[in-house]
Subunit: 678 residues, 2 copies
Amino acid sequence: MGNYAKLWLNYSSKKNNKDCKVLKKIVFSGSFADDKILENAKKELSLGLKDMLGIEPQIIISSDGNTQSCAAKRELTSGKAIADSEVYTISIKDGSIDISAVSSTGILYGVFNLLRTVGCEKDVEKEYASAKTFRPSNPLRMLNHWDNMDGSIERGYSGRSFFYENDEIIINNRTVDYARLIASVGINAVVINNVNVKQAASYMITDRYFEKLAQLGEIFAGYGIGLYLSLNYASTIEIGGMDSADPLDEGVKAWWKEKMAEVFAKIPTLKGFLVKADSEGRPGPFTYGRTQADGANMLADIAKEHGAIIIWRCFVYNCRQDWRDKKTDRARAGYDNFKPMDGDYHDNVILQIKNGPMDFQIREPISPLFGGLTKTNQMLEVQIAQEYTGQQIDVCYLIPMFKEILGFKTYAKSGKDIGNGDDTVADIISGKTFDSRFSGIAAVTNTGNDFNWTGDYLAGANLFGFGRLAFDTGLESDEIAEEFIRMTISNEDGVVDTIKEILLPSRAIYEKYTCPLGIGWMVKPATHYGCSVDGYEYDRWGTYHRADHLGLGVDRTDKGTGYALQYNEPNASIYNSPAACPDELALFFHHLPYTHVLHSGKTVIQHIYDAHFEGYDEAVKLAEKWETLKGKVDDGIFENVSERFKRQLYNAKEWCDQVNTYFHRISGIEDEKGREIW
Amino acid sequence: MGNYAKLWLNYSSKKNNKDCKVLKKIVFSGSFADDKILENAKKELSLGLKDMLGIEPQIIISSDGNTQSCAAKRELTSGKAIADSEVYTISIKDGSIDISAVSSTGILYGVFNLLRTVGCEKDVEKEYASAKTFRPSNPLRMLNHWDNMDGSIERGYSGRSFFYENDEIIINNRTVDYARLIASVGINAVVINNVNVKQAASYMITDRYFEKLAQLGEIFAGYGIGLYLSLNYASTIEIGGMDSADPLDEGVKAWWKEKMAEVFAKIPTLKGFLVKADSEGRPGPFTYGRTQADGANMLADIAKEHGAIIIWRCFVYNCRQDWRDKKTDRARAGYDNFKPMDGDYHDNVILQIKNGPMDFQIREPISPLFGGLTKTNQMLEVQIAQEYTGQQIDVCYLIPMFKEILGFKTYAKSGKDIGNGDDTVADIISGKTFDSRFSGIAAVTNTGNDFNWTGDYLAGANLFGFGRLAFDTGLESDEIAEEFIRMTISNEDGVVDTIKEILLPSRAIYEKYTCPLGIGWMVKPATHYGCSVDGYEYDRWGTYHRADHLGLGVDRTDKGTGYALQYNEPNASIYNSPAACPDELALFFHHLPYTHVLHSGKTVIQHIYDAHFEGYDEAVKLAEKWETLKGKVDDGIFENVSERFKRQLYNAKEWCDQVNTYFHRISGIEDEKGREIW
């Protein structure tokens, strides 16, 4: 045990299943390599059953001798092929647990599934009474670290990086336990460095770091996790000594050809690159009058020779907008920049698209690129680092939000066959269709070197939950929360229920006190934490509420910026109409009078007042619930969360009072209920 | 010449006075020591006349042999005695210039006076046709450096410190030229380190720095400048290893007794200390339930044994105010904290009081401590570092503002004789009364290691002008500007007039676009530059505008916070009444409807619109005037100021549009003139 929490792999002693006979002998059957992953699976199974139940099982390997390790291969198959290889089945056969798979990764996942069942004190024999097969909903289930090589983490709220310090790569027991933690919930891909690639990180693709990266990649591979690096698009200039990064320049291509040959040779487990280009000051193809497709394809064509992929972020917008300009709309930018080239991206390019058109606010509509792009590999990007959602101080269980995102209907009509099958693209973000060659879901991660990994113990539910949901989008928020609590904190039913009552409504509460009716961005610009109603109002970031004494909101209809029309019908018509638009997005799409009556029957101003008073009051109740757990959960966990709640209540009170005061002052309209506004 | 500008000591060749006979022989007469100051006076005179006129004068020393050097002595005399010793007379006797004084410092000042006359191309024979005597208005004329020992400067806008780098003290030619520059305008005291004493600066009073400080003090002493240090009030804890800084603790006193004996022995030229205590997180006597007087007197009693003084800042207020709290008023804090102990401060304590009750805004009323304290040594503190006044990007000649401050009538009634004379205290801030034992004027300085010392060449006028005005409060802003321009930039009349037309209205213009009717603080909190109307509105700093849809301003009358009543009559009644209060402070003292009609005949809202449009338009005109100087002034100067003007216009436009938009949105009242508001 290092100086950090084991979280859901703590394997504390369990009451149930102690005498479970089918756990005495466990069979790994199917077709898989006898590789490091299999070794890790055996080790994990032995450790978990011993620590939780005192059982030391006999493990029988019954493989048909497929000797190619998943971990070792780097070849461009397809998302479907990846998912197929990770399928596993658990059953009870001849009085033993049988875990069957076509790869050692499948076996490993089966082991973690079994250990989860034990960890949650479910009855093993009942659970697997009939055979259960598990197939990943998303072939790529990825974490993006925004860790910098100096040890800092951009938008990190859990201490410093456990990957880097002083421009060196750290490898120790924590590295291994990190791989175990994320593999246990189904993560199979990690980008280990910040998408803003600067300074030392630009040299990751040089021999300064190859040796360590190869070691790190080996550790990850042993848990079925692919290693990815964020790439500096301008590497030809910044480390190559050239004067161009033009993707159509032959010299540039030649440089990358040589560089990638070197990098993939030196880091055998490397699976590809993530690229943030032409975004917030980062260089990119636009500099040379080229398209995003030109840039992505150039890198992808070279990467293809090595069986690797290029993930290209769609976070491209004008971050030097004039606040006086009401025509330009940042929300439009992703679609405007990427839709015209739909079909042009080569088949080992994946576009990584943030869930919303802005930037990880607690409430945004779904990006119209989903359902807009129909001929392009896509990945959904969410953020479990709570940048705008409480910074791991305010509790905010994000899984219900991700469920909403995944449940959105894009009404996309059709697309070209780009790899493997039928020509319709349904809802790519549902994670259940693989019409594209590759697809998946990535989260900007919330980890750091804090003892508990995520700053707030309850924020661990987002790390756990993201992995679980990415693997199985059919899981419910409630089930995931329960698993997390039982495995990490307590199996006592009363405790489980109390913590679920805290987690499940927490996102709605955070939304209430920070983001009325879809108007985000009322945060302090420097930190993105704490209320500042006008913080971004007169700034260059394209993030405005446009409040005056009569009303507020941004007109994104056909009479305004036209953003609503980027959606497929019927979404476009729904969003375009104040009468049809859902309340929670009313001010995202419309500039409305304070006296406008919502579907809820409330006026806009009364909604603002009510939501903020309620949000604060409900946060107080969450904190009170937590206090009832004193003595019932580990003291360290109790104190950690208790201290966070104190800060949350201070924050929530500020939000409540500042937002209400601001809109009371500007509208001059009294709260119907006569509550105190300052 | 080092790699920096000589500013007003550039001694460029002059046309006038080339054949002036009285400059061939110059007599230093009176009673003064043959010390380093005298040597420097001779050297300066020879250099200046040679370079400007090609004259190499015969210098005759005719002293009665007073051999005690001003520079060397450290004894507690009085402000009057200091001023008496610095008096000098220039006359023409027997066909020669005669500079007469009772100290070598007086001689040095006489030399700089003569060189200024030559530098401005005034006719020397006419200027001194009848004898002229010059007596300093303020005995202490001080610059406060907010330089940190790591080389950074708090609120510095001119590069890095020329006193420190990497926690070491720098001494080189620039140190000497700095002493020459400031002595030439009459500065006789310098605090060389930031009032926020932290890290290495806490060790300035240890042998780590004694040797360098002694050298630095010697250089300053050679120009009649006293060396002062900012002191860490908690030194007993931070460097003394004790657990208390209680001013009544005998152990604390004993530590200071030993420490000061050591410090004053090792730095013979050190004249005393400046202390910021109990302020913005700095430790102080309040921590131990003691008064500010307890803290100041403890240090002063010990310093007195060494003939030294303690300057104690009055910038003590609650910087953790709740914005919802409308009773607490930061403006009241200075008076509330310091007035009750008037008469208790020992006679080598000087309270240093900022000009206004808040913090160096472009418009504030005068601090009521002036005229409130009648039995206490006081110094006025102003800021030529343009923290809130344009940051040496926006041109803002501050001398007209300082003239207003010095012209304020406090109507103080009487005070106890605390040293040397009559028992009435008239207007201490006028700098013309010395009823207190000590008094003076200090400026937070605007210098750094930029080539031109002050970032913007035009900001040099504030450094020059502060010294000149502190020495002679009777000088007019116009005269001072003219001297600065002629000596630093050009003697060509057209150029002089143009630059005066830029400097003289610049403060009024800056006020127009940033601070309508006395409402300051609408700045970005992180930098204090650029507009953010609500930047401080919901924060903890006690700095609010309280705008709602009906009106704005802070009620500081007897019906509000009562601050207006801290003034002597008739000021209290004037400020207390919306009808009597001067327009420029209307919103500082009153919460007024947008429709309130001002003395000007305009409504509040129309004043806001007009002032901002005018302020921007006038800034444009200043920039245009500067552009006419292309080719008429040094290219380096032209380009420097021209580039600053570009940034000023961007800034002024943002201020104009943001303030007008904010108040248009919140009030819903249209601009009478129908100009574009966003």
